[in-house]
């Protein structure tokens, strides 16, 4: 059996590991855009802050692949898929036949048009090295800026704070995660950020990068800002053209059923790019977190080796911005919820937002209220209603 995995991140590598455990004779190939062996992206902020040495971000050694008899193709991407004759064309010029193909590529960061040295993105180890170099090269304290209002923006705010770099924050919407949060939840976060000294400018769009070679600042639709380091966190942009051309059904992500099977036989997907049917919440979801990427890989490896297994997990993602804990659990899109309920308040310094659809709790966001995570997770697993969940929460 020939398994080809496109993507060498946590999802692709976990799938390869699981496939090897389940099939000791199989041929397994990982095609990885990254030049590095598997590392933890979640550890990159720890590395930049000096909490751990650089070598500790790696989860696999280079020798691991050969030990596991996994063919590892670093620095290579897939460019062409022929699902009828079952092979993929790679950027190294070779064509790889497969019996089962897994697409677990993750997504590229969305980038700005302009560029100058000082503009930073935050996805890979190379990005982390670059950011650290930018911070260290300045003799005097530089001016930091962040453009965006999501997870990556939080990381940049925390990193600048760690290095005591004064920070300007600009984003297009009214507040963080505006497709998820109610305005009062957004206000809780913005209030916290401003109290910690961040110079906040919502409702502005970045138009131009200023600076010939080195970054000097940027201009929005309203004004110009001084900045030596500008962290960009404006979302992800997967590239699916090679899959679309092969008639793989693609929407925002690669469409898959609850078994992580795509619309094309013997082509599977997992991780950030999978837009999979989640039977717990009753609709297709795209979930970009570690727990989801790893768990999907374990499940899809079972299905690929013949033990067809439904993927069922209430996944979650925890982050914090300047010490304020924010946790997302399961399905947290406002537009897809029938009802939204709030627990806590601005004055209490913590608010939990619960999402209900068809009489079932399907998701929750906890801001400064970690204690609600477990009851909400259980309510989703057990398909409880808000009325049932309410009894478990402390108001």
């Amino acid at each position: 059996m020939k398994y080809v995995i496109i993507g060498g991140g946590i999802s692709g590598t976990t799938a390869a590991e699981e496939l090897r455990k389940r099939d000791s004779h199989a041929e397994i190939t990982i095609v990885s855009e990254e030049h590095h062996p598997l590392y933890s992206r979640v550890l990159l902020p720890h590395y930049i802050k000096g909490k751990i040495p650089r070598e500790r971000v790696f989860l696999k050694k280079e020798t691991w692949y050969a030990q596991q008899r996994i063919e590892w193709l670093p620095g290579v991407i897939a460019q062409h898929l022929d699902p009828r004759n079952k092979f993929v064309g790679l950027s190294n010029g070779r064509e790889y036949p497969y019996d089962k193909l897994l697409v677990a590529t993750g997504a590229e960061v969305r980038s700005l048009e302009g560029d100058a040295r000082g503009v930073s993105y935050f996805r890979t180890l190379d990005d982390a090295d670059h950011f650290l170099q930018l911070v260290m090269q300045h003799q005097e304290i530089p001016r930091g800026a962040v453009y965006g209002s999501g997870f990556i923006a939080c990381e940049y705010i925390n990193l600048f704070h760690h290095f005591r770099i004064p920070t300007t924050l600009v984003y297009r919407g009214n507040f963080f995660w505006n497709r998820v949060l109610e305005p009062v939840c957004g206000e809780l976060i913005t209030r916290h950020i401003v109290e910690h000294g961040v110079d906040l400018h919502p409702n502005e769009e970045l138009n131009t990068i200023i600076g010939e070679k080195e970054l000097e600042g940027f201009a929005t639709n309203k004004q110009e800002y001084l900045a030596h380091i500008l962290g960009i966190g404006i979302g992800l942009e997967p590239s699916f053209s090679w899959l679309r051309q092969a008639d793989v059904e693609v929407n925002a992500g690669i469409r898959a059923n609850e078994y992580l099977e795509t619309s094309v036989p013997d082509v599977f997907t997992s991780g950030d790019v999978a837009e999979f049917f989640d039977p717990l919440v009753g609709r297709h979801l795209m979930v970009g977190n570690w727990m989801n990427a790893m768990s999907q890989a374990r499940t899809v490896a079972k299905t690929m080796t013949g033990e067809r297994t439904r993927f069922e997990l209430v996944s979650s993602y925890a982050t914090n911005v300047l010490g304020l804990e924010i946790i997302f659990v399961a399905d947290v899109e406002k537009a897809s919820a029938d009802q939204i309920y709030l627990v806590g308040s601005l004055d209490q310094g913590g608010i939990t937002q619960v999402f209900e659809r068809n009489g079932q709790v399907v998701g929750g966001v906890m801001i400064g209220r970690n204690k609600d995570r477990m009851p909400i997770t259980q309510a989703i697993q057990q398909k409880h209603s808000w009325i049932q969940l309410q009894k478990e929460l402390i108001f």
């Binding site: 933890s40 992206r41 979640v42 550890l43 727990m291 925890a318 995570r373």
Partner: protein, 89 residues
């Protein structure tokens, strides 16, 4: 039954909860969003980030799987002789 020492470094733990999903009898998140170490679902002598556990081979494998799933490698597992089982050195 094998005896293992399970340790969570609260400074590295970010509350990703992967360990809790895989090994809920051994890990539970506290109010600070860090994982306490439990002994088969209970906490003799109260909350702690470090504990000796007597486990079956199967339980040991699952706890190691929980540790492997941690995105910040905040969970350390040692055998009776003090050898670090995970993360592998």
């Amino acid at each position: 039954m094998p005896k293992i020492r399970v340790l969570v470094d609260p400074d590295l733990c970010i509350g990703a909860a992967s360990c809790v999903t895989i090994a809920p009898e051994t890990f539970q998140l506290n109010e600070e969003n860090k994982a306490w170490v439990l002994d088969h679902g209970s906490e003799p002598d109260g909350h702690t980030y470090e504990r000796w556990l007597e486990v079956t081979e199967e339980e040991k494998e699952n706890i190691i799987l929980g540790a492997q799933s941690c995105p910040t490698l905040a969970i350390f597992i040692f055998d009776e002789a003090g050898v670090q089982l995970f993360p592998e050195r």
